[in-house]
């Protein structure tokens, strides 16, 4: 371990994903190379995560020009230093696999051929390479959807970074990112769960008298008291057209008791549904819609009036209940998707697409049943957590200030909302109130300082109150065209991707080599880049792995000491791209070597030497089965890969 310099030339606080193999390779290389180094980088992950202006993680001089020319830029740097007589500065190009084996190959070939004194390190994560918890609710054109229900092509609300307004954009991909560590962010009125690398839109204060700005920050960079952009109001809704098919008489159905079913949503009907969500039940089999409303309550009077307006006559009442028997009405209410049973009730997506007036009527209905008013604040009580969660988001689209869900368990018989609890001992409530009117005109700068988006009709800033780890959860991510962000749980977040490169191994899944009915992932083998460079008669070519840092550092030091073009190809697992857990990077990197999928060798002046031979070669299945990019592989396919590896070992003469 003495070979490790204590000096960190790559500053911590860069934005690489947790468990990133490539950033480790960069860090180790800098430890081996030391301060007297100039780094040239192509466009790629390592460039993006280390240098978002005005920040940089590089404590050595660093230059990036474009994607395909790191080797050419390094040639220029080397020649420039030489022409000025500056000696002893090591020029290093560090590129990803795309910038090296694909688009950057020509420039690299030229650099090696011209014998520039440059060390080129390829951090190979085997593809051009962020996620939300699967419980996230996404705001779409068709209302609120679970992230698991969003499909490609759905129109999703995004935040326009220029106009600060909501716009609809098409979803162009959904990615399963596997079970990962998930954190929960809580602001005054919003809550969201996301992985640590997920970007959020944060307010950046630039000091007194200067304009504040919105910047993207990943969850792990967020701090309590940071202000993030959240949704406050979404206009433009309209009346919802029901596509319900009533059944006809026949079979077991002998009486239909037809009533006038509404074709469109209306304020009166929404109020009725609000009351139904609170106190109603439906038995589609029996054709019964009922409400548990004792005689004499305000709510009962409103309901009777509403039913009369909506459906005409046919209401049966007794001291405790109100019934209506109509097969199609019962089926209709069931069809609307509010769920059944106090604990399972919910708010269906289409409610989110309604006009403000209808949403207000729905809330009015809800409040009549299970709500009460305390001063200026309203409180709604329910035994269904999902209902509260969705109600919270619904209220957030209507410009209300909404508190968090207070969930509690109480003994049976305890009084709650003027009623004794029967079975539902677990229940929750949320409080909400109308927004205060700020006198923005009179005190513009003061309010704008407090709330950057105060004049915005749709979004506002909220302070983060809590960030906590909630454990491992399945995660998903969306990709949205154009704006690259979407609104999840009422918070503006960013999306992400993983495209194949020439270094992608045979049969691996990427977003551009999907596994479908006909194609089974990448159909071409990995390009043998070290051999290509060795064919240029480079004095030193080596392979390495972040799983074996000592071997890697030794090779970097050796390459740097050799005059002329040298090349190190270092194998770096990528958590999101390989579909592996962020804690498994090193384990997977080691397994690649132990199974023979990646070999550690050096070619010095044309002489091949294996620098590490696994004591006993393990089956490739051990390596493949740990990565979900290979999860589609059948035993036969794995056997095929095993054969390729065996042959490769035979070819290298090391088996």
């Amino acid at each position: 371990m003495k070979q490790f310099s204590e000096e960190e030339l790559l500053a911590p606080g860069h934005r690489a994903c947790p468990g990133c193999g490539s950033i480790l390779a960069v860090r180790y290389a800098l430890k081996a190379l030391g301060k007297n180094t100039i780094v040239c980088a192509p466009t790629g992950c390592m460039e993006v995560v280390t240098t978002p202006y005005p920040e940089t993680a590089w404590r050595v001089p660093w230059i990036h020009v474009a994607f395909e020319n790191a080797a050419a830029v390094a040639s220029g740097v080397e020649a420039g230093l030489k022409s000025l007589g500056k000696r002893g500065i090591k020029v290093v190009a560090i590129g990803g696999d795309g910038g090296t084996v694909d688009i950057g190959l020509q420039a690299l070939s030229g650099m090696v051929e011209r014998n520039h004194n440059v060390l080129y390190i390829c951090t190979d994560n085997e593809a051009y390479m962020n996620c939300l918890s699967t419980s996230s609710l996404i705001m779409t054109k068709d209302g609120l959807k679970k992230i698991t229900e969003v499909k490609e092509g759905d129109e999703i609300y995004t935040f326009d970074l220029k106009t600060h307004q909501p716009v609809l954009k098409r979803c162009i991909g959904i990615f399963d990112n596997g079970a990962r560590e998930v954190f929960e962010i809580e602001t005054l009125h919003h809550t969201i769960s996301a992985t640590p690398n997920h970007p959020f839109l944060v307010l950046k204060r630039n000091g007194r008298g200067r304009k504040n700005k919105l910047v993207w920050k990943t969850l792990c960079e967020l701090k309590v008291r940071d202000r993030i952009v959240v949704l406050k109001n979404l206009n433009g809704g309209k009346s919802f057209k029901f596509r319900f098919n009533p059944i006809q008489k026949g079979g077991k159905v002998t009486h239909l008791n037809e009533v006038n079913l509404p074709k469109h949503s209306s304020p009166a009907f929404m109020k009725y549904l609000g009351i139904w969500v609170g106190d109603g039940w439906v038995r589609p089999g029996r054709g019964e819609v009922g409400f548990a409303l004792p005689k004499g309550s305000n709510e009962r009077r409103s309901l009777v009036k509403l039913q009369h307006v909506l459906f005409g006559n046919g209401v049966r009442t007794n001291d405790m209940y109100i019934y209506m028997n109509s097969v199609n009405l019962a089926r209709f209410i069931h069809f609307l998707g509010f769920g059944s049973g106090a604990k399972n009730k919910t708010i269906p997506p289409w409610i989110f697409t309604l006009s403000k007036e209808e949403k207000e009527a729905f809330i009015e209905g809800l409040m009549l049943s299970d709500g009460y008013k305390n001063g200026n604040s309203f409180r709604y009580v329910s035994a269904s957590h999902e209902l509260l969660q969705r109600l919270r988001l619904l209220l957030q689209t209507m410009g209300y200030r909404v508190g968090k869900i207070h969930w509690q368990e109480r003994k049976k018989g305890r009084k709650c909302v003027h009623r004794r609890l029967l079975k539902d001992t677990a229940f929750g409530y949320i409080c909400f109130s109308k927004r205060k009117k700020w006198n923005v005109k009179k005190y513009p700068s003061q309010y704008k300082y407090q709330n950057f988006l105060i004049e915005n009709g749709h979004f506002e800033m909220e302070k983060i109150e809590k960030i906590k780890l909630v454990g491992k959860e399945p995660t998903l991510d969306l990709r949205v065209e154009g704006e690259h962000n979407f609104i999840a749980d009422g918070i503006v977040v960013h999306n992400t991707g993983i495209q194949r490169s020439g270094a992608t191994p045979y049969s691996a899944w990427t977003t551009t080599t999907p596994v479908g009915k006909v194609k089974r992932g990448e159909d071409l083998p990995k390009k043998d880049m070290p051999a290509i460079i060795a064919a240029h008669r480079a004095p030193y070519v080596a392979t390495a792995s972040v799983g074996y840092p000592l071997d890697y550092i030794k090779k970097v030091k050796k390459a740097a000491s050799i005059e002329g073009p040298t090349y190190i190809h270092v194998h770096c697992p990528c958590g999101p791209g390989w579909r592996i857990d962020s804690s498994k990077t090193i384990e997977i990197a080691k397994l690649a070597v132990l199974t023979g999928m990646w070999n550690l060798y050096e070619i010095e002046n044309g002489v091949f030497k294996l620098t590490f031979k696994p004591p006993k070669r393990r089956p490739v299945a051990d390596y493949l089965k740990m990565q979900r990019r290979f999860r589609h592989l059948t035993d036969e396919e794995i056997a095929g890969i095993q054969r390729t590896v065996d042959e490769e070992w035979k070819r290298l003469g090391i088996s």
């Binding site: 474009a66 420039g80 970074l161």
Partner: protein, 394 residues
Amino acid sequence: MKQLVTGDEAAAIAAKLARVKVISAYPITPQTIIVERLAEFVADGELDAEYIKVESEHSALSACLGSAAVGARTFTATSSQGLMLMSEILFVASGMRLPIVMANANRSLSAPLSIWCDQQDSVAVRDCGWIQLYCENNQEVLDSTIQAFRIAEESLLPVMVCFDGYILSHTAEPVEIPEQAEVDKFLPPYKYPYLLDPEKPITMGAVGVPEYYEEFRYMLQEAVLKSKEKIIEVGQAFGRQFGRKSDLIECYRSDDADVILLTMGSLSGSVKEVIDEYRGHDERVGLVKVRAFRPFPEKELVDSLAHAKAIAVLEKDFSPGSTGALFSDLSGTFVNSRKSPLLLNFICGLGGRDVSSLQIREATKAAMEAAKIGEVKKTVRWLGLRETMVGLKP
């Protein structure tokens, strides 16, 4: 001392006189003589520089960015398709404010393949943030290239010196070659203020997130606009020292002219001949030559053109679906001015076709006709077009 040299040689000699440290170029006709001469200078030890024999124009310019970033005076040369391959890096060079000087021997673009002269290549990349200077003769090629280093280094912008392929690049003319000591006085060794230096590590070419990108582009715009003063200043300083001053534009017998022809590059020489002929017949015709196409000399052009009745813009480029680029820029400058002359556009000399005095006269006559009747019948005309081939005539 006067020597008989071609335009390419003039550019190579200018680079040598500027004592460039790094040359990174890939050969392309009609620029080849530049890289050949420079390679010879380096081989003969006449020039102490690193010559990078890159494998493509893309890498040529990329290497230039690298060497300029460590503080070496850097030169490259290209033409046509090569410039197009460089175009991605052209934008990066100006965005990173690296003072690179490039000689571009103007040549047409494929398809059809043509190795002959027009100005479509450099005009196509007019939005890349480089300063573009166009030369009329080989003397101007030499003078502008030497000046370009000082303009680039003092305004931290890359400069493209454009001269017509073959017409200048391969044609020998007597050129006054200044003494090395004089050039050294005019052009002191290059000191770039923002070096890639392990002693003071900096990050170059960072990611510009939406919160910052626009500001960077605004600063680039300001820099290019401000470089106008630098071009004038350097042109005057050069004039004081070498007796040949240059400006953003050059006016030739245009002060009292009713009809003014506007050109860029070598065409100006032929136009001057025609102007003299007209002047002999007491026709008030003049020429304004645009030397700096970027930054576009709006004010200067309005000042020197506004008094005329009609302007004929002759150019060796066009934007398909629009007009010639110089013409559209010029029309833009007159948009908010109180008095605007009539503007006519003539596309000519594409793909190396000679522009004859007959064609220049045809353009002048059309402009005089427009000035007389006070209206333009046809805004864009093509000179010397084989009308039967394109179906305009049976």
